[in-house]
Amino acid sequence: MFDQPESFVTSDGRTIGGVMMEMKNITLRFGGVVAIKDISFDIREGEIRAIIGPNGAGKSSMLNVISGFYNPQKGEVWYKGERRPSMKPFEVARQGIARTFQNIALFEGMSVLDNVMTGRLNHMKAGILSQAFWYGTAQREETENREVVERVLDFLEIQHIRKTPVSRLPYGLKKRVELARALAADPKILLLDEPMAGMNVEEKEDMSRFILDVNDEFGTTIALIEHDMSVVMDISDRVVVMDYGKKIGDGTPKEVRSNQAVIDAYLGVAHD
């Protein structure tokens, strides 16, 4: 359905590279319920890839397969040209895949700064003695990573709340802090599970701008799930459409919009 050369340039001038992650014939079952049925698609380097579909289509399950929460019964996940063995979520994170959650999953007892600093944990290697006496590696590392974190805070415009406990923040800012935490990890692929759920138009605009900026400035590959069609069609390069665990469409927003199966899934189809 979709065939493109090794790398190409989009209409707005960004370069999309080769295949970074490929899902091959993924099937995921919970007991008798088939959440994902034989789905294959790929994520290319530098693109913004959207996964859409009606409620219960299996989008979040798909993201959970990518981030290692679920191991599919059938199918293979290929990452950077290698087949990925079944992994724990923290091992997936260490390979450079960061994500945010549909329901905010921040550490409520910690400040914004500490939350975002947790995103750098995989870059901090100081031994326990060095940490215990706050000497040498631990101190140097703390400062280096703080600099990275401050750049991220600056980029997402949340420096002013860096010392505020997360539990005191409004919803929109929490979403942004969660994005900051994922971004601080310096990920190769960023997975966003409904980054704009529950936001008003203005917050959605802000978030869309941040997503585009992240992609533009850091060249981060982004895969996102979103319900707001206008946003999806606007910012994504390619879209996968799922319905009842099956893939019913895959292509550029324009192609997807004119796909009859997609229109049927979203608008309903007359049964006679």
Partner: protein, 358 residues
């Protein structure tokens, strides 16, 4: 007036992430250190050392240890008494087996041994949480007390079943045994508490502390950002056990001198230390100090007021103490779940603006 931070700017990240970023706090901390190390040792007498200062210092170490596990990493433990007993018996065995080695080493090694034992009992935390984990650690408490009672090797086959601390000196001054000076007892405990406080603070503000807090606040999200739950939880158990072991070793060798395990390290000790961190403040090193001070001072204070001041019966005063402590815990859980440390923080916030509220 009492508390100023204006004109106090951090210009570097290390300056911003230090323990006391505000100059006033920093100077107060130095002042406390000076008083504790250079003034109190010269004026302390036997009553103050034995009734208040030494138990406070030792319980503060235990509270720091438990706070790392419960307050920072969110893993409930009811085995503190048993774990302190491990430190005490390890110290006893080391003191009697290697009489020529300094007791300072023995206490550190006792901490290490306790860390290993606590880590072992922490293994179930990978599968179970909350209440169920609490029950698992409760089993550890009863098992360890039973073990030290039953296996005579631990008390060197003594007829009484007790362990007694032999005389040991540091730099020529006795620190254990019945002939120890009050100031020497105080000093050795103070040195270990200072060490524990600084190490705990450094660990909890660094990357390890963030791992622990991440596990506590939301373990799923912690895993997704790359925290290995196995190593994070077990490191919390180990560090916690290290401090609890040190406190147990000091409690036996310096404070009590002779120990019968069921009496000194029973379940009530586990609860006492747990109350300290709940009242003092979960997830705060300062809270561990405050809670230990509170729980050590309260009985002494009540006794002085009720028995000494009002002439009540000692037994009545002792029972009243149970009621008051119980009521206070309920009040704290409802009114201020973050304990004395949070009250202190709120007071500081208010004092920033005092006397003008706006």
């Amino acid at each position: 007036m009492f508390y100023r931070e204006s004109g106090d700017f951090s210009e570097t990240y290390p300056a911003d992430s230090q323990t006391f970023p505000i100059k006033f706090d920093r100077y107060r901390y130095y002042a406390v250190l000076v008083v504790a190390f250079l003034i109190i040792p010269f004026i302390v007498n036997d009553y103050w050392a034995n009734a208040i200062l030494v138990p406070f210092l030792i319980y503060a170490i235990a509270a720091i240890g438990l706070n790392i596990l419960v307050g920072y990493c969110g893993q409930v433990s009811l085995g503190t008494g048993g774990f302190m007993a491990v430190g005490a018996y390890a110290c006893y065995k080391l003191m009697t087996a290697f009489p020529d080695v300094s007791i300072m080493f023995h206490i550190f090694i006792s901490g290490g041994i306790t860390a290993a034992v606590v880590t072992l009992f922490g293994l179930p935390s990978l599968r179970i949480k909350g209440f169920y984990l609490a029950v698992a650690t409760l089993a550890a408490q009863f098992f360890l007390v039973w073990l030290f009672n039953r296996v005579a090797w631990f008390y060197n086959y003594s007829a009484s079943g007790q362990i007694n601390a032999p005389d040991r000196a540091v730099f020529g001054h006795l620190v254990t045994g019945p002939n120890t000076d009050a100031w020497a007892k105080y000093m050795i405990c103070l040195v270990f508490l200072t060490f524990a406080g600084i190490v705990a603070r450094n660990l909890t503000r660094g990357s390890l502390g963030r791992k622990w807090s991440a596990i506590r606040d939301m373990d799923i999200a912690a895993e997704i950002i790359g925290v290995n739950p196995l190593s994070a939880k077990l490191s919390a158990f180990a560090i916690s056990g290290f401090f609890i072991g040190i406190s147990g070793a000091l409690f036996f060798s310096v404070y009590l001198g002779a120990v019968e395990v069921g009496e000194a390290f029973g379940i009530q000790k586990s609860f006492l230390v747990l109350f300290m961190i709940i009242i003092g403040g979960l997830g705060s090193v300062f809270g561990s100090f405050a809670g230990a001070a509170f729980m050590v001072l309260l009985p002494v204070l009540l006794k002085n007021v009720l028995v000494g001041g009002l002439g009540w019966d000692t037994a009545l005063a002792a029972h009243l103490e149970f009621i008051i402590v119980g009521a206070l815990i309920i009040v704290f859980l409802i009114a201020e779940p973050h304990g004395l440390a949070q009250l202190w923080r709120v007071a500081k916030e208010k004092l920033r603006l005092w006397p003008f509220p706006h």
